[in-house]
């Protein structure tokens, strides 16, 4: 059984067809890239998987369970986590609290126990705090634990966003243009980093990258979107020389 299966997914925004009859399968452990020019529908695919939007048509299965119609927090609890194209940290919260927030789904204590700071609250909060700090230390962010997220430098904010996503204990991690705004050197580091978290946390990863060259190195398989439709998929080497893909990208270059 594939880990994720998207069947005939179509999504329209008031007439605009952002994703058109999208079919996609993902096996446990894969690292797949989704590429495509601006406005191709890549982010929309992530929003459909994570329940931010409800697909107009089609089904999405994760470990065999239907995701369409579920709320984002339900889907997150099932094991899908993500980062955002434009960093969306909780800016005014500390680095530690950014991560601790993501343990919401896992903590089982009741509102009453929270109001009285009793019972499971004590045990679980101690554990959550420890685990959050442990996770931060893996990302070498533990020294910044009490800083506000907005005060971190850009690169660390990207890292924190990944750490926060991992706190939800996902099987599938969706990274939306994690290299945006980075220089070639930083991008190289990021790619190593992604390979490393993939191994360490045993993740399946879908990576959106706007720039084709970047994903070539680390993705095992690529899906190319243009105007919401899949125009090609396959090994990076095949994609590189696919005339349709070149055309889509050339078209974009020409439009600039």
């Amino acid at each position: 059984m594939p880990l994720l299966e998207m069947k005939n997914i179509t999504h329209r925004f008031e007439g605009l067809c952002a994703v058109a009859n999208f079919n996609f399968q993902l096996t446990q452990g894969e690292l797949v890239g989704i590429i495509g020019p601006n406005g191709a529908g890549k982010t929309t695919v992530f929003n459909l998987i994570t329940g931010v939007y409800r697909a107009t048509e089609g089904s999405i299965f994760f470990n065999g369970d239907e995701l369409v119609g579920k709320t984002p927090h339900q889907i997150t609890k099932m094991g899908v986590a993500r980062t955002f194209q434009n960093i969306r940290l909780f800016k005014e919260l500390t680095v530690l609290d950014n991560v601790r927030t993501a343990y919401f789904g896992e903590a089982t204590y009741s509102p009453l126990e929270a109001l009285l700071h009793m019972g499971r609250y004590r045990r679980e909060e101690t554990k959550i705090t420890e685990r959050a700090l442990e996770l931060l230390s893996v990302f070498q962010l533990d020294n910044a634990a009490s800083e506000l997220a907005k005060n971190l430098p850009y690169g660390l904010q990207r890292k924190l966003e990944i750490a926060r996503a991992l706190a939800t204990n996902p099987q599938l991690l969706l990274l939306d243009e994690p290299a945006a705004g980075m220089n070639p050197n930083e991008i190289k580091q990021l790619m190593d980093f992604i390979g490393w978290i993939r191994k360490t946390f045993r993740l399946t990863i879908i990576l959106i990258e706007h720039q084709m060259r970047l994903v070539m190195g680390i993705c095992e398989r690529l899906v190319v979107l243009d105007f919401g439709a899949t125009i090609a998929q396959g090994l990076p080497a095949e994609i590189k020389s696919n005339p349709k893909v070149l055309e889509a990208y050339l078209g974009e270059e020409a439009a600039k």
Partner: protein
């Protein structure tokens, strides 16, 4: 000289974060308020002002949970206060036996809180069904409905109001309820639900995607907030011994909003500061009469423009922060220093 103050500050921080600070503070405060009201150490006028300060702290902290911590905009807090006030008053005047009132008073207050929170739940469910700014509109309408509803129920006095309450709201009771409200709301803030509330203000969609059940969290925050508005209403009714629907109109709601934004959003210490300053200011400005109605909303507008976060906005006094949260990073560092590994 600077050293001297620094020393005192440090001492205070050590004391205020001590494990026994809260229990000792609570016992001492309660003892003082009992003695003060029993032996007339404070004159009655001063006692009444302190009672209002306490009630206003409860109102401010509870509204801050929704408007400050959660970043929603509720304008109907006085409506929930009214429900608590009328419920508690009806119980003490018409239901409870006169002989046992002193013992049953807490029950009346709790009943007022429960009534307000049930109505809060009814308001919250449709308001939080979708994202957006429905809450402001719904609570505005709610406040008006409560007021005109009360004006049209003759058995509780209609527009003339309701009286006959004994003066059951004493300084010790107010102290007790104020500390309890502050403690419970602070507990909520420093829990997974509190982090949920804060993350909703920061970015609701991101919050939901980080496993926060945003709808549940919003409803819990709103219901808890309404509960304490109801508690404050019950205390208010039995301090004044007379209530009418006009006391709980939009002006009262605006008063509470001002206290929240004056003291500072998302801050317990700020709520207390805001309530204390505003209550005292109101007393001083009482001779101005109707001009107050102009001055106070003006103050709210100016505050929101020039100091949108208030005096303590987004900051917290250390002694409101649970030790677990205060020391988390520090303890972690210590632990890591003890066991330096290869990665260091």
């Amino acid at each position: 000289m600077a050293d001297f103050y620094k020393n005192i500050l440090e001492r205070w921080q050590n004391i205020s974060t001590h494990r026994f600070f809260w229990p000792v503070f609570f016992a001492a405060g309660l003892a003082f308020s009992i003695v003060a009201s029993a032996f007339d150490i404070l004159d009655l006028y001063l006692q009444l002002i302190l009672i209002y300060v306490g009630i206003n702290i409860i109102l401010t902290v509870s509204l801050n949970l929704v408007n400050g911590y959660m970043g929603e905009f509720s304008i109907g807090h006085a409506g929930f206060m009214a429900i608590g006030a009328y419920t508690a008053s009806l119980l003490t005047v018409n239901v409870f036996p006169a002989g046992a009132l002193n013992y049953l008073f807490p029950l009346a207050i709790i009943a007022g809180g429960v009534a307000a929170s049930v109505i809060g739940l009814i308001v919250a469910i449709p308001s939080f069904k979708t994202r957006g700014d429905y809450l402001a509109i719904v609570t505005l309408a709610f406040g008006m409905i409560v007021k005109s509803g009360l004006e049209n129920i003759e058995v509780i006095g209609g527009p003339r109001g309701f009286l006959g309450m004994s003066k059951l709201t004493t300084l010790p009771w107010v102290f007790f309820w104020t500390v309890l409200s502050v403690w419970i709301i602070r507990n909520l803030v420093y829990s997974k639900f509190g982090r949920g509330v804060l993350s909703i203000r920061e970015d609701e969609i991101a919050s939901d995607l980080m496993s926060v059940n945003t709808r549940q969290v919003k409803i819990i925050a709103f219901v808890v907030s309404s509960f304490f508005a109801g508690v404050a209403g019950g205390l208010f009714a039995h301090a004044l011994q007379f209530i009418n629907p006009r006391m709980f109109d939009i002006i009262k709601s605006t008063d509470i909003l001002i206290m929240v934004y004056l003291g500072g959003i998302a801050s317990i210490a700020g709520s207390i500061i805001g309530a204390v300053i505003y209550t005292i200011l109101l007393e001083i400005l009482r001779p101005l009469g109707i001009w107050r109605m102009v001055l106070m909303p003006l103050m709210l507008v100016l505050l929101m423009i020039y100091r949108p976060r208030g005096i303590m906005g987004m900051r917290e006094a250390r002694f409101f922060v649970p030790l677990r949260d205060l020391l988390a990073a520090k303890l972690w560092k210590q632990k890591n220093k003890e066991a330096p590994d290869a990665s260091a």
